[in-house]
Symmetry: C2
């Protein structure tokens, strides 16, 4: 338990918490793009300079609001570097390597929150779209509607392997080597990325 010493003001951590609360609310309601630092500061009733002071940037505030242990954007380069027709393999390898590391424990907590709370689900949608998958689609240069469809399909496969390997711990998915999993799943992920999909009216 934290004991407040006489003369020490509880300001900074309360300010930080109210900024995080406001950020979760607005990112969840409006999405990442339509939310400004100024809006968040206004809702938290603090000066925008305080938001910059505590979190540095909107990107970093978003990651903090979500409780995400890493920013996927920092890992996306490893996925994009190389031939497009083996991107599925690199995406799986990069993503599973992160989740297999100690960071994965925080990831499981994040996934549990997203599934339990509506604001968590909203933030995860933004996170999945903005951070992890949209840069890949931009790299592939697809039309927007097709990119959203492929992104969604990718999310079904990637979220499912995370759920089964790290949360539900279904054998042999939980105990398989990463190499075996990547080899077995890469063609499926690749099909969602660049393969032929049935014609769909958008």
């Amino acid at each position: 338990m934290m004991v407040l010493k006489p003369g020490r003001r509880p300001g900074p951590s309360l300010t930080r918490d109210s900024i995080l609360d406001a950020a979760r609310h607005l990112f969840g309601e409006r999405g990442f793009d339509a939310t400004t630092i100024r809006d968040i500061a206004a809702l938290a009733d603090v000066d925008p300079a305080m938001v910059h002071h505590h979190f540095g940037s909107k990107d970093k505030l978003f990651t903090a609001a979500l409780g995400a242990p890493i920013d996927p954007r920092e890992h996306i380069e490893a996925v994009l570097t190389g031939p497009d027709d083996s991107m599925g393999e690199r995406l799986l390898e990069t993503m599973l390597a992160i989740w297999d590391s100690p960071i994965g424990i925080a990831g499981v907590a994040l996934l549990r929150t997203s599934i339990q709370h509506e604001w968590g689900a909203k933030l995860l949608r933004e996170f999945v779209l903005m951070r992890a998958l949209t840069p890949i689609m931009q790299h592939l240069g697809l039309p927007e509607e097709e990119a959203r469809w492929r992104t969604g399909l990718l999310a079904t496969q990637i979220s499912g392997v995370i759920l089964m390997r790290f949360v539900i711990k279904l054998d042999p998915i939980a105990t398989a080597s990463r190499a075996d999993l990547v080899a077995a799943m890469a063609p499926n992920v690749q099909r969602y990325l660049t393969g032929l999909l049935p014609v769909r009216e958008f």
Copy 2:
């Protein structure tokens, strides 16, 4: 709030609850096959006849313990009937039709419980394996280790589409027609069922 009338004994519903608690504990610990009605009755401190009286069979007790709104075994025939090379399509169509119906609401609650509680995760593992996917693998006549591997891979894809469509509600997966989703995903599901997978040492 339930008010107990004088003279009315609270016995039956307490008995039912203690049987359910014991069932969750033992199914979770030992799995479906290794758990007997007799074990559950002993742990709940009731006569085995009471278990049969309240739940009818071990199958029905398992479904009740999990809080599952349906028993997938009753729907498996629709998946197994037809050519093996279009089984992926029938599996997706059958599964999504159930989740798109009002039953899906109870399904989401079940998935939330499984993700939140360790006993829920254990029961879901049993449920996925015993109920939904094992009969399909038996039908395909695969060696046990390969069947478990394919079952696990299937579970990653199927759980992921359920998570994105019904829990996280990621667009366009949440809003797509069932026909579009089945068409886009069926080849991936089919590959896990009967397609060529990389050699793996079991």
